[in-house]
Subunit: 698 residues, 2 copies
């Protein structure tokens, strides 16, 4: 969304509703009124299976997760439409997402036959099936992205596009509820066979369908897609599959359905949906995968609560953790929490990149051994970083602990944000922390035959408003900083607006203006990021003590309209070291400023200097400090950091692979190194890049 | 061979001959006399295809490579039987090889159906085919190992075992010359199909068959196996396959046949054999692999001379380089030399481990990008290190340049020698440079379903005498140091014995006694290893100047019986650094003493110390030196090295993944670190190991 265009989000919402109304779709009516009368639009999409959906809150006011009734959620989500992100860091990225990425990805999905896959099943396309078995999910994620855009009231015309493909999708559903464009016709016999369950992504596709349908429902109130998903679950799955001797076993294959089923349960209240998620998470011993390693790779099949560490396919593991956390939020099962806690500690003490990315190995797109975090060879799939954010969002909801928000922010600003080019048309599948184009890789591409990451990035950026705030019984939590306006209410019911004014992440000062509908006592939980070593906080000009890095500062008082919180985070660039067991990072440092991890691109260094030869000068005499400069025209406008460095390009050992150790300083020349934010790398000419830079103490 | 048992190699040879004679096999007669009358033994093995083999030198006196007539060989091989390795470092390893490894591997090949694969084809076994498509090659490599043992006159009873399986192998050959136990019967239709050529290892198997047959022929004069190989090449391959519109194309798939064909050419003089090797090396554009990456992986299919760097499957690449070097030795084609030179520089400047191992990635068992040399994740397949040694042996023959011998020695003492356990019954497939058993790997195993490495290690140790010396028109080259006696002759014809007395590699002094049959002027090329920084050389007590590290010292004089060369290499332990682009090794050093790379095993460090927490103390005040101690009972008798170190196990940042950089020294405790030779690692309890150790300058 561009605030340059001068219209407000509210106008967008009105516009979306009127457009929808014009096409006779049953939006604009809450399910409060819908319950007695099932959707009765004039559209061709089937409107049967009128399962009663939850009424609290209405479809319009459900957040990313509808935790309203979740007994083990400490925090509850705020709906995406309640937060308007205004001109600033994320508005710029979201504008590109809405105006470039989502439309161009829609065209690419179309051009690559992903839409036709549905149409051929309803006689509207003669084309053969195209793409891998999980191709349906890419369409669904794209629909979910559009759903979130519509929730924010932006680009109402997207609805027409979604409606068009939604009609074909729902039309392709089998009479028994099954929906998939691959395991049909010549592949119908393979449907839900054990081997297909392992590798066929049928439940994975449906999980994404449910997520897409949910986002669309929460934007429009239109249950068409959601009903189709419920039919798949109720009519197809629950009737024939599940525990018990009369049912066939299920194997998740690629976890995703678990988290979707719990969210479905939050809408339907149908305990079977929650139980099915629990069943998938526990694994059914009746399905044995061929090789024991496959349960590791798939991160399913064995009881989730028996897991002791992160391993296998990183996206699968992250989505499984999401599903397990969702399951915990509803059941409070302590065995789940214990496992989630163990896995989370494993994540942050041995498996996560400084960018918030996860997954060390290209081989299997997988977690490596503890501390196996290679830079150039890093996989760090965009989807896995997104999964990491989604998992931590659930952990945060369960606890209200800021350490989870720290991971969200780290992944979002770095390992996720890097995944989409600044112009919104190219995507990273891998997000390495070092790169040399001479090795032949092309890191940003407009299309992948496995195009999971691009629409995943799109749905994430589109859903961002839903991650800014949460509520609790005590008050409200502020998680993310950016120019924005919240228009919501406390759990006690009182209306509350919160306006943020900031130049974050370029600047560490944030002004937060609260406007409760009437003076009310509650706690404002202000997140003090883990990366800052000092934060000054004041309310109405009066200092507030107790701000602690990596915790929420609870400010409890009777808030009145116009109360102002001013916070100033120290954003001095920091040098980070890595645990010595990450061998590649020994003797190297990463640069971080605020939430942004920085990197060196060779293109920014003095001409003739090769990135492989440089070091950051940190000798006792160097007295070097970072110089900051905001460059408006560079890479969408960034603060570049400059620091004294050394160029070892002419050291004698230059061309040798191994040589005698010497205690003496090697020949080097001083130079000035220029760092840019990691997320902005590879947006110009292909050039070497690195996050971790050697230090020189001479 | 154990000199403890008090018998000499000569006795072995006599014994082998008499045993063979007793079984009525046509050994003991040179082909000088054989030529007119094809082998006419009473054995059941077919003796047809009496292709004339070269007569210079006789089968008995052909070295590992028969370079006698190779126009572009500067050095010529000395036959294995001419060098008796006596009690010392390699005798100990070779004794284990002969008495434990080869017999136990023979039993395992039998137990795992690899011999029955042949027997089923001649109605002697009802068992089904077992093992991967390349399983025949493992039998052949085992036969080659036995062949080299027999060449050295050791374990003559091995001949009975080889004859037994050889009979079944030759019996399984098809009437048209084809020999393979997989692509028969139900798989016969797949035989030599393009896809099979890519993945079926038919030529690879035959290449190893030819190598095994050659080693056996050179031990016994028995042409049975070799004739079968020649039938495969002449009757099966050459009649239907090769260039030209009337022939079907060939694709090497896994290079190996190339080197075997050139060696066959050296015996048959049949130009078609050399040309077929050249044809395989050039690739036939009529066979297109499915994915362009496969030509990279297979290291064949595209012209060898178009290669610019090492890539793809490391063993394939090394064997291809062997074949190309062999082809160069016969043809002198400058395009081949240019490519070999480029690839060799790539090897030693960006792709080789300090152990001489090659192949960074488990994924594809492949070379990585330049400087991608991870330690714990190293693949470093034993076969690849062996291929590296074989390639460098050919480069050395072409040039007489010691830099190639340096690579041979590095690979042999470290990355190859590590591949077989000290007791000779367990083998490494991977040879990583760091290891943590808690990650679940078991690094030494008695059997792999893909058991390429064990018999490869066995044939290499068995062939070792053939690598000690070479001759040239100018004299003789000494490459490897160990107690040994050469009994051979100069190229001019005069007899020459050379006796080495040394405790190498534990001690740097070597006494070399020359006994020419009569006083003769020639050059003794004494290898001064690249790792030494000083070498004192004297002849008959008089200093010889000009010794240069990494070069052969040419000592030209009129040599008489009893002339003594004494050489003293400085064996002070050295610390090696790696090129800064090997990120994992930044701030770390490797320890090398003489040709031996050392490592730390946690088991040798003070109790309670974790290897991950230690550093080598090299501060300006430490003044630390290595302490050496020979421990006779430890790991077969080794020199251990001790050095001051620091234990950072209680540093504050211990449990953190990332933390703020500090210029201040971290908390550490002093300790003494104990290093052992790398080749001896993982021969006790599973314990962490590392070659590259961080340094502490505090």
């Amino acid at each position: 969304m561009s605030s340059k265009q001068g219209f407000s989000r509210r106008q967008f919402v009105s516009s979306a509703i009127s457009t929808a109304a014009a096409s006779c779709l049953p939006i604009g009516r809450d399910l409060f009124t819908d319950l007695a009368t099932p959707n009765s639009g004039t559209r061709e999409i089937a409107q049967d299976s009128p399962v009663v959906l939850t009424t609290t809150p209405s479809w319009r006011d459900q957040g990313i997760l509808n935790l309203t009734k979740s007994p083990y959620a400490k925090l509850r989500n705020v709906p995406a439409h309640a937060v308007m992100i205004e001109n600033g860091f994320w508005a710029q990225r979201r504008e590109v997402n809405v105006n470039k990425s989502i439309p161009s990805m829609g065209k690419l999905l179309e051009a690559n036959g992903r839409m036709d896959n549905f149409r051929r099943l309803i006689g509207k396309s003669p084309a053969a099936q195209r793409g891998p078995v999980y191709s349906d999910s890419d369409v669904y994620k794209w629909m979910e992205a559009a759903g979130f855009v519509l929730q924010s009231g932006e680009r109402p015309e997207l609805r027409t596009a979604v409606d068009k493909i939604a009609k074909d999708v729902v039309g392709a559903q089998q009479p028994n509820g099954y929906l998939n464009t691959y395991f049909v016709r010549e592949h119908a016999a393979e449907r839900m066979e054990p081997k297909t369950q392992e590798w066929g992504h049928e439940l994975y596709n449906m999980g994404h369908f449910l997520q897409g349908a949910t986002a669309y429902y929460r934007a429009t109130g239109d249950r068409t897609l959601l009903n189709a998903g419920i039919r798949f679950v109720n009519d197809f799955l629950l009737s024939d599959f599940g525990p018990g001797p009369d049912k066939k076993p299920l194997y998740s294959g690629h976890p995703e359905m678990e988290l979707a089923l719990v969210e479905l349960y939050r809408m339907t209240g149908d305990r079977r949906h929650l139980d099915l998620a629990g069943y998938l998470l526990a694994g059914d011993s009746r399905i044995h995968v061929k090789r024991p390693w496959d349960d590791v790779y798939h991160f399913c099949g064995t009881p989730f609560t028996s897991r002791t560490h992160l391993e296998g396919h990183a996206v699968r593991a992250m989505y499984a953790c999401c599903g397990a956390a969702d399951y915990y939020l509803e059941t409070g099962d302590p065995a789940y929490w214990k496992t989630l806690d163990v896995l989370w500690k494993d994540l942050v003490t041995s498996q996560m990149y400084v960018t918030g990315g996860v997954g060390a190995r290209s081989d299997g797109e997988a977690f490596g051994d503890p501390f196996e975090l290679p830079n150039a060879r890093a996989y760090g799939e965009s989807c896995a970083a997104i999964g990491n954010m989604m998992w931590n969002w659930r952990m945060l909801a369960a606890t209200g602990e800021a350490k989870f928000a720290d991971v969200i922010e780290r992944a979002l600003y770095n390992g996720i944000n890097s995944g989409m080019s600044l112009d919104g048309t190219l995507y990273c599948y891998r997000n390495p922390l070092a790169f040399d184009p001479s090795h032949g890789d092309k890191i940003r591409n407009d299309w992948y035959d496995t195009t999971c990451c691009p629409p995943n990035l799109e749905r994430t950026l589109a859903s961002l408003p839903g991650y800014f705030y949460s509520t609790s019984g005590d008050g409200i939590y502020l998680h993310l900083f950016d120019n924005s306006e919240l228009d919501w209410h406390l759990e006690s019911g009182g209306g509350l607006k919160v306006r943020q004014r900031t130049n974050y992440p370029w600047d560490g000062s944030v002004e937060i203006v609260l406007t409760p509908a009437e003076p009310t006592e509650f706690t404002f939980f202000l997140r003090i990021p883990g990366w800052t070593d000092s934060a000054q906080v004041g309310v109405n000009g009066k200092a507030v003590t107790g701000a602690t890095s990596g915790q929420y500062l609870p400010i409890r008082r009777r808030w009145s309209a116009g109360d102002v919180i001013r916070v100033q985070f120290n954003m001095t660039p920091q040098l980070l070291e890595a645990n010595a067991q990450i061998a590649e990072n020994n003797g190297r440092v990463a640069v971080q400023r605020g939430p942004l991890v920085y990197c060196l691109e060779q293109i920014d260094q003095p001409e003739g200097v090769a990135l492989k030869d440089v070091a950051l000068s940190l000798g006792p005499k160097s007295g070097a400090q970072f110089q900051e400069e905001f460059q408006k025209e560079l890479l969408g406008g960034i603060i570049v950091l400059r620091h004294a460095g050394a160029d070892y390009g002419e050291a004698a050992e230059h061309g040798l692979l191994y040589f005698r150790y010497s205690n003496e300083a090697r020949k080097s020349k001083p130079l000035s190194l220029t760092f840019i934010p990691y997320y902005a790398w590879a947006n110009r000419t292909a050039t070497p890049m690195q996050v971790w830079t050697p230090i020189s103490k001479t």
